[in-house]
């Protein structure tokens, strides 16, 4: 077996993860999920522990631009992939339009599902700048919220989509 293509490690993995555009060296036990490494080893506690069964969406992050559940993704699998979490969304004090809309329209109440919901919505808007309410509901159907009744979340994503489109227009 050629060594160059197969990685062997003992007990702990040492690797570089790319999180929110930054390269970070980290060392962790190989059974750890991305969620655990983000929260426990990198101190990025914005991403939430929910059901840890892939049923609630609270831990959703973007990997190479696609929403995935960090509770089901082993961190060792993430070498060389771009990870985006809620911490990377605001530019300094400038909130992302999704964060602003969720705050303004009550899309976030207790807030526990919000990071996962916002990241899932970001993946949607990055690909589809003008989703219909039906499409938003469909794309967000893996994110369970016990407070808002969902209507405010859908409205928040619609408002943010409009803001992103306007910003795009002004920039060009």
């Amino acid at each position: 077996m050629s060594v160059g293509t197969v990685k062997e490690v003992q007990r702990r993995v040492h690797m570089t993860l790319q999180v929110n555009g930054e390269e970070i060296d980290v060392s962790f036990a190989p059974y750890k999920t991305l969620l655990e490494v983000l929260r426990e080893d990198l101190g990025l506690t914005g991403t939430k522990h929910g059901c840890e069964l892939g049923e609630c969406g609270a831990c959703a992050v973007l990997i190479d631009g696609e929403p995935l559940l960090s509770c089901l993704t082993l961190a060792v699998e993430c070498a060389g992939r771009a990870i985006e979490t809620i911490e990377g969304l605001a530019q300094g004090t400038q909130l992302h339009p999704l964060q602003e809309a969720f705050a303004d329209l009550g899309g976030s109440q207790c807030g526990y599902c919000t990071p996962g919901a916002v990241m899932t919505a970001k993946a949607l808007l990055d690909k589809e700048p003008s989703p219909t309410p039906q499409r938003i509901k469909e794309a967000m159907s893996g994110n369970i919220c016990r407070c808002t009744g969902y209507q405010q979340i859908v409205e928040s994503v619609e408002r943010a989509a409009g803001c992103c489109r306007n910003a795009e227009r002004e920039a060009t």
Binding site: M1, V6, R11, Y31, A60, L74
Partner: protein, 288 residues
């Protein structure tokens, strides 16, 4: 929890198969079943964790020839968004559409859904009605050896398949359906997203001059493994799609579906759903 002592992410199939030749590797792809199962203690990691997702040639959908081939690590999202598959085998795309949620579809692989061997696996009934086979590969005698198993004979019991521990499921293949083939899929759970099917059902058949032929009906969550409903198929084969044949097929479900009571539904309810779904898909086809 057992310690993982070795993590392997080979690029080549022969390397992966050599690494699992002793039958002692835990195979990782999307992790959507493996992670919760190890978390709950239902499964243990072995000392060797083998990530198969980076193996060249194990992903991708080839739908241009008479035989359709879907690589084992192809995600459910890729199946859902594949234009040629939507044309050739919409029944499979329909099942991908109803699979869990966006986040899980982006990670879960077709091979994983089959190897997990859940009686409720969403991709299984449509593949059964497409007459699919699975390709299993292993390292034997200093070379890669493969064998093809009809999907219908792949499942043994919940979580168990005929795949040997040293074998890797590498692809799913099926013949391109005929132009007059129709396929339908139904599943139900308490809500449309993120549900393990209470019952699932797929129909595949050819229709010429108003008569059904090559009828295949498959059901999930009504027995220890997903199954072909032979009595239902016999009731429809060669028949026109009319009220009498539909009633006979619906009655025949009692011979094929042997569901149990469990946390998700009662046996009575599952039997009822099977009848409703079969009638719906047959009426759908009849309406078109």
């Amino acid at each position: 929890m057992n310690e993982i002592e070795q993590y392997l992410a080979p690029r080549r199939l022969d390397e992966a198969l050599q690494a699992m030749a002793n039958g002692d590797a835990t195979v990782l792809c999307g992790g959507t079943d493996l992670a919760p199962q190890t978390e709950s203690g239902a499964r243990q990691y072995t000392a060797k964790l083998l990530n198969i997702r980076r193996i060249d040639g194990l992903g991708g959908i080839a739908a241009e020839t008479d035989q359709v081939r879907i690589g084992a690590v192809t995600t459910i999202s890729e199946i859902r968004c594949h234009p040629a598959l939507a044309e050739i085998a919409p029944v499979l795309v329909e099942a991908a559409e109803h699979f869990a949620s966006e986040q899980i579809r982006n990670a879960a692989s077709l091979g994983g859904n089959l190897c997990n061997a859940s009686p409720a696996g969403d991709m299984i009934p449509p593949l059964l009605v497409l007459g699919a086979s699975v390709e299993l590969a292993c390292w034997r005698g200093g070379a890669v050896q493969t064998r093809l198993i009809p999907l219908e004979r792949f499942f043994v019991s919940p979580g168990k398949t005929v795949k040997l521990p040293e074998e890797l499921l590498t692809a799913v293949v099926f013949d391109r359906p005929a132009a007059d083939f129709v396929g339908k899929f139904r599943k139900s759970g308490p809500r449309p997203a993120l549900e393990i099917s209470t019952v699932s059902l797929a129909l595949g058949a050819r229709i010429a001059d108003g008569l059904l032929s090559n009828v295949r009906v498959a059901m999930g969550s009504v027995a220890p493994t997903p199954l072909r409903a032979r009595h239902v198929e016999a009731a429809l084969e060669g028949k026109p799609l009319d009220a009498a044949s539909i009633a006979a097929a619906v009655a025949a479900t009692a011979e094929d579906a042997k569901p149990i009571d469990d946390v998700r539904a009662s046996a009575w309810y599952r039997s009822h759903l099977v009848r409703v779904f079969l009638e719906e898909v047959l009426n759908d086809v009849r309406g078109n």
